[in-house]
């Protein structure tokens, strides 16, 4: 039986036979299904709202992540890679969108879940965080964690007019806010990137050297003003004109005009609402993160 015989498998597979039709039908139905299943299992549940954890190294980002996930913080070390974790809101803090839903509504459960993305804070590894900012997937907000015990100026180094901890925190925050502002100004569509709430979470309130939240806010604003000044006067960098967005030679300032004192209020013009709240991950029973939970639930 050669391949060109009337009843060879090749001829059959092109002939009007029931089995052939059934097989073809089966394949054409099953293949997309299988493909879908395969790909779906591989990709993230992207529909979940996401929050980004950013901050200098040692601020307690990873500790906070484990605390929110498990209810108690695990010991941590310097991170080298980002980590996404799915977290469910505790039952006593309901998501904002659930306010008018009855408790037995099954979608209520779904709405209280979100992804928290931890990023490394080490100076060399911040590109993970900036990559997340550029291509956000359902990004609902940014939590910028600072170590409030490492900001006070009396712990300043011998030569610095401000402590290096504060400078680092302010520089990083400046860069993040600038990136958010750029994202806003660069989107030409009317839709825009929407509102990006930023929570500045002043961590380690359990330590007695920690600054209270209002002072953290003032210190950061003052320091960002200084950072903005020197950045404005600094040299252009070699990447000018490299990005798609521009042969624009001029630089971007943070806030309006880049003059005078910087305040977080100025960011509202570019749809970035900044709030500062205190708390601590370690110490007490499971830390003091109620205000942060409340902020997260408000964004959902």
């Amino acid at each position: 039986m050669a391949w060109h015989d009337a009843d060879s498998w090749l001829s059959r597979s092109f002939g009007p036979y029931l089995s052939t039709i059934l097989l073809a039908a089966f394949v054409s139905v099953a293949l997309p299904l299988l493909l879908h299943l395969y790909i779906y299992r591989k990709t993230a549940p992207t529909s979940l709202p996401a929050f980004l954890l950013i901050g200098p190294s040692g601020a307690g980002k990873t500790a906070l992540l484990t605390l929110l996930e498990r209810g108690n913080p695990s010991p941590t070390h310097t991170s080298q890679a980002p980590l996404s974790v799915e977290i469910t809101l505790p039952s006593d803090t309901a998501a904002a969108s659930n306010k008018y839903r009855s408790a037995s509504d099954p979608t209520a459960q779904k709405n209280s879940r979100f992804l928290l993305i931890d990023t490394p804070g080490h100076g060399k590894l911040r590109h993970f965080a900036s990559a997340q900012l550029v291509a956000p997937q359902n990004l609902k907000g940014i939590i910028y964690l600072v170590d409030a015990a490492n900001l006070s100026s009396d712990s300043a180094g011998v030569s610095g007019s401000s402590s290096s901890g504060l400078t680092e925190a302010a520089e990083y925050l400046h860069d993040i806010l600038l990136a958010l502002q750029k994202r806003y100004t660069n989107t030409k569509t009317s839709k825009g990137p929407g509102e990006t709430p930023v929570l500045i979470a002043a961590n380690k309130m359990d330590l007695f050297t920690a600054l209270p939240a209002p002072l953290v806010k003032a210190a950061l604003e003052a320091e960002i003003t200084r950072v903005r000044d020197t950045r404005a006067k600094g040299l252009l960098d070699s990447g000018i004109g490299m990005d798609e967005d521009g042969d624009r030679e001029e630089r971007d300032w943070l806030g309006d005009g880049g003059e005078g004192k910087f305040t977080f209020k100025q960011m509202e013009e570019v749809n970035v609402v900044v709030e500062v709240k205190g708390g601590n991950v370690v110490g007490g029973q499971g830390g003091e993160v109620g205000e942060w939970w409340e902020w997260i639930s408000r964004q959902l």
Partner: protein, 656 residues
């Protein structure tokens, strides 16, 4: 004594840890920072057979191993004073066990928690390895396996079976090694030639006095006996040795049993160690007595659970060993061609587990590519090695080929290298030094001192003038010190620059002056004078030019140390040409080391970047050789042609 053992993920979460003595978190943190992130200390890593890389910090020694595909790091921390020879094996075993037991949990996305009751496994591993280590250590004539302080690459002699046997009769039968292919799950100890000769009392005394808890001191004593054994064993009679051999065998068996009886037997345990020390004459008898008893116990029911655990552990470890062996290419035509086809397929679709062989060729191409971009060979090789280290054992993502994977890995390696650890805002630093500080009135404002060093003819004076121009634009008062008292015409050249600059900046509000003392004087003294003069005359910044010097001219290089001491610059920048080729690494390293202990370069200025197009490899070579960041790029002939480094720009050029 092991202080602590931690299993952590690359994302920073400690999954499991065992602490014997609390160790500050900063110890492991600095390991991660220095070795994994900043790659300041280059680990002579060697996966598998060789000994593990190590890192020292504040009196601790850290050894580690990684499981790349799962993103795990296993770290053992112990005091540098003690020599632990079994740590390498422990790391390997724990890695094999942990990854096998919890791999499903570890692969779970979107969670950081791993439920791992690992304590039992770990304890038993430690006990077992300590035991075998003690045994190996007591072997006579054995080259002491405490190879920790030799570089890992050179220490091929593990304490394994392939250690050269000093005497034919003494060749040790292969001990129960985890990666040996003998899948013997039975723990019946193999008779080992061993002397249980006591330590000299003095030594043991010393160590006992030091030891804290009883267990630790016991081990210390054993150690002592181990180290003293080689000297004493020279005069042993064969008969003596025979008897000892027997004793050792029994001893092993008994200890094995102790695991089963852990708590009840602990007193015996201590007893035993004292008899061990008391002298070889009565030791065998005592040992035998206990032995027979425990042989009986061994068949008892009491130890079932623990034995199961042991068996499970052994089989996992044996499997790991077998897997390693079977990962060798399949033999036969069918096997190999099938493998090739599926390899090709996976190369396209992704999901291929990368091996050294897969990476060899594309990495070689990558290396050539980097060389074409003017990256020094040394740096290119090391970069490729680090990429290889990071990729071996990883799976390629879906729909990414090996080449693409290497490309992205190299890109992120370059980004990591070129990105400075802390920000390089010169103006901020100047502000911090020169502005009066209301909070810290003791630190009186003083001029900021910046000096420039480099090889002859790379453009030191030119770049100094560019920096000067930049500072003048920011309305600073700048003093330029002519520290090149060597080359004729150098001072005149600076004078011209200063005249030009003061004309240019007259409108902007800055002011600049030249400080010169002619030729032939000692540059270090001139620099110190200039700083004093600037402080007295309320200058904000002092820029010190220095004589160009060949980096291999020992006499001129050594004068830099004095210079750094006298002038005490806040910042020392080295100027290098973008054109420089293979010499760049040596240049950077020599200059970096020239300022004496405790002072290094603070940054590089890479000049003439406009002349090299996309061949900006010098950036990478210099930074990779020293870990010192690039602060400025010179990009042209004008005073304004000075730029900061944009890392994205540089990596894009390098990868193009």
């Amino acid at each position: 004594m092991l202080d602590s053992f931690e299993i952590l993920s690359t994302s920073g979460v400690v999954l499991w840890s065992k602490t014997y003595v609390p160790v500050g978190a900063n110890i492991v943190n600095s390991l991660i920072r220095d070795v994994f992130i900043e790659e300041r200390t280059k680990p002579a890593a060697d996966d598998g057979a060789g000994s593990k890389p190590m890192y020292k910090k504040e009196g601790y020694t850290l050894k580690w191993t990684t499981a790349k595909d799962l993103g795990l790091i296993f770290v053992a921390v112990y005091q540098s004073l003690v020599h632990l020879t079994w740590i390498d094996k422990l790391l390997d075993n724990v890695r094999a066990l942990f990854t096998e037991l919890y791999k499903d949990q570890l692969r779970q996305p979107y969670t950081s928690a791993v439920d791992c009751p690992f304590d039992d496994y770990f304890d038993r591993q430690v006990q077992e390895l300590e035991k075998t280590a003690d045994r190996t250590a007591t072997r006579p004539f054995e080259p002491t396996p405490t190879v920790e302080f030799t570089p890992p690459s050179s220490s091929g002699t593990d304490n394994g079976p392939d250690a050269p046997p000093p005497m034919p009769g003494l060749r040790k039968a292969p001990q129960k090694s985890v990666y040996s292919d003998t899948t013997s799950t039975d723990a019946t100890p193999v008779p080992t030639p061993e002397t249980s000769r006591p330590a000299s009392p003095a030594v043991s005394h010393l160590l006992t006095a030091k030891g804290g808890p009883p267990r630790a001191s016991r081990r210390a004593k054993k150690k002592a006996s181990a180290t003293s054994a080689p000297q004493s064993s020279g005069d042993e009679s064969p008969a003596h040795r025979m008897r000892d051999k027997k004793a050792a065998a029994k001893k092993g068996a008994r200890k094995w049993d102790d695991f089963g009886m852990m708590d009840e037997d602990s007193t015996d345990n201590l007893d035993y160690s004292t008899t061990d020390l008391a002298g070889s004459t009565d030791a065998p008898a005592a040992v035998e007595a206990i032995d027979s008893a425990s042989w009986g116990k061994r068949t008892g029911k009491g130890e079932f659970v623990l034995k199961d655990l042991d068996e499970e552990m052994d089989s996992i470890l044996a499997n790991a060993g077998a897997k390693k062996a079977s990962s060798e290419p399949a033999s036969g035509i069918v096997g190999s061609s099938l493998g090739a086809v599926s390899g090709l397929f996976r190369n396209v679709v992704g999901g291929k587990t990368l091996t050294k062989e897969d990476l060899a060729k594309p990495l070689k191409e990558m290396e050539d590519h980097l060389l074409r971009k003017n990256v020094a060979r040394e740096a290119a090789v090391r970069l490729c090695e680090s990429v290889e280290r990071n990729l071996i054992g990883l799976k390629t993502g879906s729909f990414t080929s090996v080449d693409q994977t290497i490309q992205t890995a190299m890109e992120s390696a370059l980004t990591k290298i070129l990105t400075p650890t802390s920000s390089l805002d010169l103006l901020r630093e100047i502000q911090a030094v020169t502005a009066p500080n209301p909070l810290n009135p003791l630190a009186a404002p003083r001029p900021y001192v910046l000096s420039i060093v480099g090889v002859n003819g790379v453009g030191k004076s030119t770049n100094l003038s560019k920096i000067c121009y930049f500072l003048l634009q920011n309305k600073y008062r700048v003093l330029v010190a002519a520290g090149d008292t060597f080359r004729s015409g150098a001072v005149e050249q600076l004078r011209v620059h200063v005249r030009n600059l003061s004309e240019l900046s007259a409108r902007e509000g800055g002011s600049v002056e030249l400080f010169e003392r002619g030729y032939g004087k000692d540059a270090a003294n001139i620099a110190a004078d200039a700083v004093a003069y600037a402080a007295a005359n309320a200058f904000d910044v002092v820029l010190i030019d220095t004589a160009g010097r060949r980096h291999n001219d020992a006499r001129l290089m050594s004068s830099l140390e004095k210079f750094a001491k006298l002038a005490r610059p806040d910042k020392i920048l080295m100027v290098a040409e973008a054109l420089v080729g293979s010499d760049s690494v040596a240049q950077a390293q020599n200059f970096n080391a020239a300022f004496g202990a405790g002072r290094r370069l603070d940054g590089f200025v890479i000049s003439k970047c406009d002349t090299v197009g996309d061949m900006v490899g010098t950036l990478v070579s210099m930074v990779h050789a020293t870990g010192v960041p690039v602060v400025f790029l010179g990009t042209g002939q004008h005073y304004g042609d000075l730029r900061g480094l944009n890392v994205k720009w540089a990596t894009r050029l390098l990868m193009s």
